[in-house]
Point group: C3
Chain length 132, copies 3
Amino acid sequence: MLKKFEVSTTRRVEFVDITSLVRQTVAESGVLDGICVVYVPHTTCGITINEHADPDVVADIVNKLEELAPRNGRYAHIEGNSDAHIKASLVGSSQTIIIQGGKLLLGIWQGVFLCEFDGPRKRNVFIKVIAG
Amino acid sequence: MLKKFEVSTTRRVEFVDITSLVRQTVAESGVLDGICVVYVPHTTCGITINEHADPDVVADIVNKLEELAPRNGRYAHIEGNSDAHIKASLVGSSQTIIIQGGKLLLGIWQGVFLCEFDGPRKRNVFIKVIAG
Amino acid sequence: MLKKFEVSTTRRVEFVDITSLVRQTVAESGVLDGICVVYVPHTTCGITINEHADPDVVADIVNKLEELAPRNGRYAHIEGNSDAHIKASLVGSSQTIIIQGGKLLLGIWQGVFLCEFDGPRKRNVFIKVIAG
């Protein structure tokens, strides 16, 4: 089963919690055991798994990525968003999660985030469920 | 096939070689061709694949991650482990490895590591084998 | 279906666009729906997905990784390529891409790159297609 969702981001850099979209897709698929791949078809955007209880955790990750690859650094790419491309490769375009007994095997503190690095924009997320 | 292992870490930051757990799970599964997903359900812990011959390689990776996201940096999250969350997102919560002829397609120098960033603790690792 | 390709790199650090190898493997497999895992069995090499239209994007990613983990930094590993091992763990050994209707679900700007961090060398890339 493959589903596509549109996510609207509201700031240049923003982590959007999409855990409920992933859970909902796995539930709809009826798959009891398998894996789930969450993928963004964008080059200035990523997917990560991290704590979604305290929003300060995501804020600290965002700040550190900005420190490592500042928006206003010296880059060759003329569009002015090289920092976003770099952050996307550091975080990765997808995450794979295990499904057991019809449920995502996320840890109690884990959430799935779409990582916007060059918003605000409308972004697509693909969620693929594979039985096995 | 899905297996869960408990790994005890002994230091705050430590990469534990879990290659043998992964090999053993693939062997037990009887799957000849497919993929294997190694996943940690924690937000201050990751999975990476790198050299497991010379322990200095892992030491250099650990030191660099500490340099990029120092434990005592300025963070918002009050639990004092933001560096560990950041490192987890840089390294990733899982790795996917190909299975061919009943064996993991790891390179000769490659090992699979559980990356502890906020230990010592007892950690869970899930290993999922998918035929295909 | 599993295919192995050899990629020759020509510089110490170089991102080689292997998107056509991935597309060709998916087409040959005849798989209409599923996933594709692109994997390097090396510890000083990675796989990333990023923009393959403007080569300046890749140049900026390469430069930033060199800045974060300089070749001539202070490392313990005596082979002198610790920076390459670090970069490999930051970028990751594999990427997973969704297949829909027989095609890779890559975004319009996305390409798949083999990231050479310690070349020039002959490198292997494995591409595994799983139906589902």
